[in-house]
């Protein structure tokens, strides 16, 4: 009996140790899974579901690990002299087809299935015969058709940022066909694409023509426009490979899936770009764009008529002077704003009245829509989510909240009004571009470039909040420190400078909904000291203070954290740290 007890104790101990081992092993596993290169989280997963085009799948999709196969090919150079050609056929010009063991001609479902079965299993069998480790060879479906694969994807879309573009352009610096190495235009007369050698010839981003799926335009030659996926893999990967073949140690780009789409590799590419591209390098992607422009509606050839046949009144808003160069510096690609084409937004798509080409999104909406990343207001709202901005802007109305704010962008200047009015009567073309640019630059010169406020000595050093003091001592707010640290957070932001147009603007983060002055009214003027039994959307004083202070600390991500750089600095009080702001009264 005693023995039995001891045995049970031992068993329990072993179980406990195993259990603890399991628990400690778990986070380790999670950490590993986060790393790219772990076998379970991969960027090279291709779900083979081509049969879906022919009806419902009778078997689960095959999870195909592309990099695993290319690595295997690399190791078996004797067996696979054809390299990519082992799995991919090429046309007579030598261009590789991206489908497995087939060209791009239409194929029946049964045939396609046979192509996969015969070639996959066939190759695995050949490898087995050669005594190599390989994939499933038997006729058991689930060897490949596995509904619960162990691997999951960490694939990331690829963004060619300005630095990466610069590095590519640098390789073609001396070539005649400079941009044409990648960029092409469709030549209608020749019925094929032609290289766009010069920057001005480049029609813009690949995505403007190459959509999510392959498009077919009947009557056009060739009829098909490859999907973005087919176009980029067909061009980028083959070019990287061809470049590598020109000699040993020739620098080139990745040819594996993870090389471009793996999170770690992407980070490595970005780091290399930072190192290799000189700090003073001109990263601008030159497409004949202006440094300054006027954003305004396109001038209609004939005045637009309303339903009653009367001409519609002209657009009343002053145009928006726009610093294109600065905005370029803030964005990685042209597509950030020019989402469908590099041409004028207002010409055909986003007209004042809205047009079919632009999905009936009017010019006003296209520029002001808060939840569209490519609109002016939408992008600015995204910028307001930065921690240094979020403190004030989280609780503020998003986008254009008030007619008083229109003038922030629709800048007016008495001395330039006549010139602006004249410009509005002329179409936007090369002849007016210079005038528009000059006008925009002058108008923008009237705006602030950095955020500033009242002289430091005029900013109260501390503010004692004590009118409600009951259980706690009054709270002493380090007022000046808060203002100065807010200013430090936006000292490099031209955007913040332009929009915080007056000295009192930054004060309004806390002193909101009241006249912007050096001596804002006391909070208690609007927020009653005593909570009333009548429901009101405006909080009483106690909640107003607490919501304002805590809301800002949380939005900036500084609550409970030490932000002061001086030694022995106290952390910003967390929400439930009452005595962090006001000491408890001695009872």
């Amino acid at each position: 009996m005693k023995n039995g007890k001891r045995r049970i104790k031992a068993l329990l101990a072993v179980l406990a140790i195993c259990g603890m081992g399991g628990l400690t092993a778990l986070p380790d596993g999670l950490v590993q899974a986060d790393q790219q290169g772990s076998d379970k989280l991969r960027a090279d997963i291709i779900s083979i579901d081509a049969m879906q085009a022919y009806g419902t799948l009778s078997q689960p999709k095959v999870v195909f690990l592309h990099d695993k196969h290319t690595t295997a090919l690399g190791k078996q150079k004797d067996l696979y002299k054809k390299e990519c050609g082992t799995c991919h056929q090429s046309n007579k010009d030598g261009a590789m087809y991206l489908g497995f063991m087939r060209d791009d001609a239409p194929i029946s479902g049964d045939k396609l299935r046979d192509v996969f079965h015969a070639n996959c299993i066939g190759c695995h069998r050949d490898m087995t015969a050669a005594g190599q480790k390989t994939g499933p060879t038997d006729v058991q479906c689930k060897g490949c058709h596995n509904a619960t694969p162990e691997e999951s994807s960490n694939w990331q879309p690829l963004v060619v940022d300005k630095r990466l573009h610069y590095r590519h352009a640098a390789t073609q610096e001396k070539a005649d066909n400079k941009c044409g190495a990648c960029h092409h235009v469709y030549d209608e007369a020749a019925g094929k694409t032609a290289a766009a050698a010069k920057p001005e010839q480049v029609p813009g981003s690949c995505t403007y023509c190459h959509g999510e799926t392959t498009t077919v335009v009947s009557g056009r030659k060739p009829e098909k426009i490859r999907s973005l996926r087919l176009a980029t893999h067909g061009e980028c990967v083959t070019c990287h490979k061809a470049t590598a073949a020109t000699g040993k140690d020739v620098p080139t780009g990745p040819i594996t899936c993870a090389g471009c789409h793996g999170p770690l590799d992407q980070k490595a590419i970005a780091d290399t770009s930072m190192k290799k591209v000189a700090k003073d390098a001109d990263l601008r992607i030159k497409r004949g764009q202006p440094d300054f422009a006027m954003v305004r509606p396109a001038l209609a050839e004939k005045p637009a008529l309303d339903a009653a046949g009367k001409p519609i009144k002209p657009y009343g808003m002053p145009p928006v002077p726009f610093d294109h160069k600065t905005h370029e510096a803030q964005n990685e690609t042209c597509v950030s704003c020019h989402h469908a084409a590099l041409t004028s937004c207002s010409e055909k798509c986003h007209t004042v009245a809205g047009a079919k080409e632009g999905g009936f999104v009017t010019l006003e909406t296209a520029m002001h829509k808060v939840n569209a990343g490519q609109s002016c207001a939408g992008c600015h709202v995204t910028a307001q989510k930065r921690p240094e901005c979020a403190g004030c802007h989280t609780s503020m109305k998003k986008g254009v909240g008030d007619v008083a704010t229109c003038g922030s962008c629709h800048v007016k200047s008495d001395s330039l009004d006549a010139a602006t009015a004249e410009l509005m009567t002329k179409p936007a073309d090369k002849s007016t571009a210079t005038i528009a640019a000059g006008l925009a630059e002058k108008l923008l010169a009237t705006k602030r470039t950095t955020t500033s406020t009242f002289p430091t000595d005029d900013i109260p050093d501390t503010v004692t909040i004590g009118s409600l003091s009951k259980d706690y001592e009054p709270s002493v707010l380090p007022h000046r420190k808060i203002v100065l640290s807010m200013l430090a957070g936006m000292k490099d932001s031209k955007l913040a400078g332009a929009f915080h147009a007056t000295d009192a603007a930054v004060c309004q983060g806390c002193h909101h909904n009241s006249p912007a002055t050096k001596t804002p009214p006391r909070c208690g003027n609007c927020h009653p000291a005593v909570e009333s039994p009548v429901a009101s959307p405006r909080p009483a004083l106690k909640a107003a203070y607490h919501n304002q202070c805590m809301g800002c600390h949380v939005a900036m991500g500084i609550d409970g954290k030490v932000v002061d750089k001086v030694s022995g600095a106290k952390p910003v009080p967390a929400a439930t740290d009452c005595t962090g702001c006001h000491k408890e009264k001695k009872k």
Binding site: V370, N371, K397, K398, E531, P533, V534, A535, S536, P537, P539, A540, K542, A543, H546, N547, M550, V554, A575, T576, C578
Partner: protein, 350 residues
């Protein structure tokens, strides 16, 4: 007539017949006259989990001191529920790992059509005109049906009291409301995560807040329609109410609406037992009578049918017989005539 309506009518009859002892369950009729009732709006995105509401509730309701003080926030690490010593508690939830926690205050939701009141056969629970669901310990018999009926699991029981156990739950601070004061928890909240006011105004504030902060809140006011609507309303940050432990599948039908018909019939059936039995007797009698009549009719019809058939058959047979006899007569006549024709020839001999 549906069974429920039938029982309801019986119930109504029973109530009028019984001698003044009314055990009417709460029904939607009770709240139609309360458009100005009060409520509280709880905004989970504002709650910081400081437990000041718990402390204030404890004081204003003169509840016993808890084992751990109210400024001990480690209490929040365990999910709790209301008990006989606490009308309200705050729980901590982590809807998204790695993101800040969300807190939820739990107390009686003060249903517009309370399940507890409809389950109570002595009317210990009543929906007050202020919106509060209030309890009268003097009539309570301690059956604890209210605790079973509550869809939110709120009422609790003083199991430790031997002689005078009560059902315990939040009163919305009814005595304070009647004095024009705010409920204790609302007054104590440092962030106005709790707002007191007329329910219909609170709904406007709730929806305005959801609309003004696009993307922050779940686009739903919990309690606007749940269980027929509650006077305590809740709005919560995304992703969901379920993520902060709230039942999203309660439906919009109030508990009394689901049960009052049948429950109301219980005392009624007892009250008009003789009537019911007489009625049932009468019905069965009538059924018998009808059945008898129907049987009679059926027999008569059968007889009529059979006799008609028989008559037809007889007629057919008669016709056949007539035809046969006619044929027979004709043959006989023919024979006779032939014989007669022959007779002169042979007759001459005879």
């Amino acid at each position: 007539m549906k069974r429920r309506h039938f029982l309801g009518l019986l119930g109504a009859a029973g109530v009028t017949l019984s001698t003044g002892v009314s055990a009417k369950a709460a029904s939607s009729a009770d709240v139609k006259g309360l458009p100005n009732s009060f409520g509280v709006l709880f905004d989970a995105s504002r709650c910081i989990g400081c437990r000041k509401c718990e402390a204030a509730c404890n004081v204003v309701n003169e509840l016993p001191q808890p084992a751990k003080p109210f400024d001990d926030l480690t209490v929040l690490d365990t999910v709790r529920r209301t008990d006989a010593k606490s009308y309200t508690i705050v729980n901590k939830y982590t809807p998204e790992a790695g993101k800040p926690p969300v807190f939820r205050k739990i107390q009686c939701n003060h249903c517009m059509e309370p399940a507890c009141a409809s389950a109570c056969f002595v009317s210990a629970f009543k929906k007050s005109e202020t919106g509060a669901v209030v309890y009268d310990a003097s009539v309570c018999v301690g059956c604890r049906y209210c605790m079973v009926a509550c869809p939110f699991g709120i009422p609790t029981y003083e199991y430790n009291k031997v002689l005078t156990p009560r059902v315990m739950k939040c009163t919305m601070c009814q005595p304070r409301i009647l004095e024009g004061k705010l409920p204790g928890c609302v007054e104590a909240c440092p962030k106005e995560a709790l707002v007191f006011g007329k329910r219909r105004e609170l709904l406007n504030i709730a929806w305005d807040r959801i609309g003004a902060n696009a993307g922050r809140y779940v686009e739903h006011v919990y309690g606007e329609r749940e269980m027929g609507g509650t006077n305590w309303l809740t709005i919560a940050p995304k992703p969901s109410f379920a993520a902060i432990g709230m039942d999203e599948n309660l439906g919009t039908t109030s508990a009394p609406e689901l049960t009052s018909g049948a429950l109301a019939a219980v005392p009624a059936v007892a009250g008009i037992w003789p009537v019911l039995l007489t009625g049932l007797y009468a019905i069965s009698k009538r059924k018998e009578k009808i059945a008898e009549a129907e049987k009679q009719e059926a027999v008569e019809q059968a007889i009529a049918k059979t006799s008609a058939e028989a008559a037809e058959k007889l007629a057919a047979e008669l016709a056949k017989a007539e035809a046969a006899s006619k044929r027979h007569t004709e043959a006989e006549v023919k024979k006779a005539l032939e014989a007669a024709a022959k007779a002169p020839e042979g007759g001459e001999d005879a």
